[in-house]
């Protein structure tokens, strides 16, 4: 599986990659984007199977990226990894077509459960 990780924080992208490995999902191809706009472009150029995206990013945030993807007809699996895990945010994510929302701080088990849910 190819996974696109979108986060403006390089540190957080590294932590997500490490946590995927700890969750037993270290064998996937990983590509990285620094914001939602870049992620939007890379869904076309890289054809990932899954997008793991931060919510709050410069240039284009995660929810706008997801809505643009769905408006363009993309059905790529999309999950949020965000510090905002309230019910309101989860409902917004789900309504826009996200498969899951992993709240920070997270555990490897949260990633394992999320990836299994889309398998």
């Amino acid at each position: 599986m190819k996974i696109l990780i979108a986060d403006d924080s390089r540190v957080m992208r590294q932590i997500v990659i490490r946590t995927l490995r700890q969750a037993g999902h270290g064998g996937h191809d990983i590509v990285e984007a620094e914001n939602g706009r870049q992620a939007l472009e890379m869904v076309t150029s890289e054809a990932p199977d899954l997008v793991l995206s931060d919510w709050n990013m410069p240039e284009m945030n995660g929810i706008d990226c997801l809505q643009a993807l769905r408006a363009a007809g993309s059905d790529v699996a999309f999950g949020f990894v965000t510090s905002e895990g309230s019910e309101e945010m989860r409902q917004r994510a789900s309504s826009a077509g996200a498969a899951f929302l992993i709240a920070k701080p997270f555990t490897p088990e949260a990633f394992d459960d999320a990836l299994r849910s889309i398998a």
Binding site: V11, Q14, R18, N56, S86, M89, T107
Partner: protein, 165 residues
């Protein structure tokens, strides 16, 4: 860092977050980032005291909407560099670049601020983090609603929440 706010106090709930909730969520974030043995201990500091580390990194996020507030994290310089090294899996702190420290401290306040936002009335919006080398200075139109003075390996860490006056 001079913290700038653009609050409209007339339109927001002025509820104050429970300090115990802020302490618990800060500990959860800290343990998740640094490891389960890396405990934050309470630290007695007189009210009104500025953050007293010799070298400081500070970071803020602002929440606007149904609830308005500024969440700030201030860290001793060595704490900030060790946090960054751990988050990036870099041994030691000598090779940690300032840009990476800014990135790591920004992510820390983003996580604490996002969790504070989730405790409070919404809907509201979380800003991107603002990070600086130096302690935070707050404008006169906000008041301190909650402050945690903590220590990690003997070095100071502060988390504070300010709301409109």
């Amino acid at each position: 860092m001079n913290v700038l706010t653009f609050f409209d106090p007339s339109s927001a709930d002025l509820e104050t977050p429970d300090p115990e909730d802020v302490r618990m969520l800060t500990e959860d974030v800290w343990l998740a980032l640094l490891g389960e043995d890396e405990v934050l201990l309470p630290r007695l500091v007189p009210p009104g005291s500025p953050f007293d580390a010799a070298g400081v990194w500070s970071a803020t996020v602002t929440v606007t909407g149904g609830w308005q507030g500024v969440v700030t994290v201030e860290l001793d310089e060595d704490v900030a560099r060790q946090l960054t090294g751990t988050m990036l899996d870099i041994p030691g702190t000598e090779t940690v670049a300032d840009g990476d420290v800014a990135d790591a401290v920004g992510e820390l306040v983003n996580m604490v601020g996002g969790n504070v936002k989730s405790l409070m009335p919404g809907p509201s919006t979380l800003s991107l983090p603002a990070v600086a080398a130096g302690r935070a200075a707050f404008p006169s139109d906000v008041t301190e609603a909650c402050r945690l003075d903590l220590a990690w390996r003997g070095a100071p860490v502060r988390v504070s929440v300010h709301i409109p006056q």
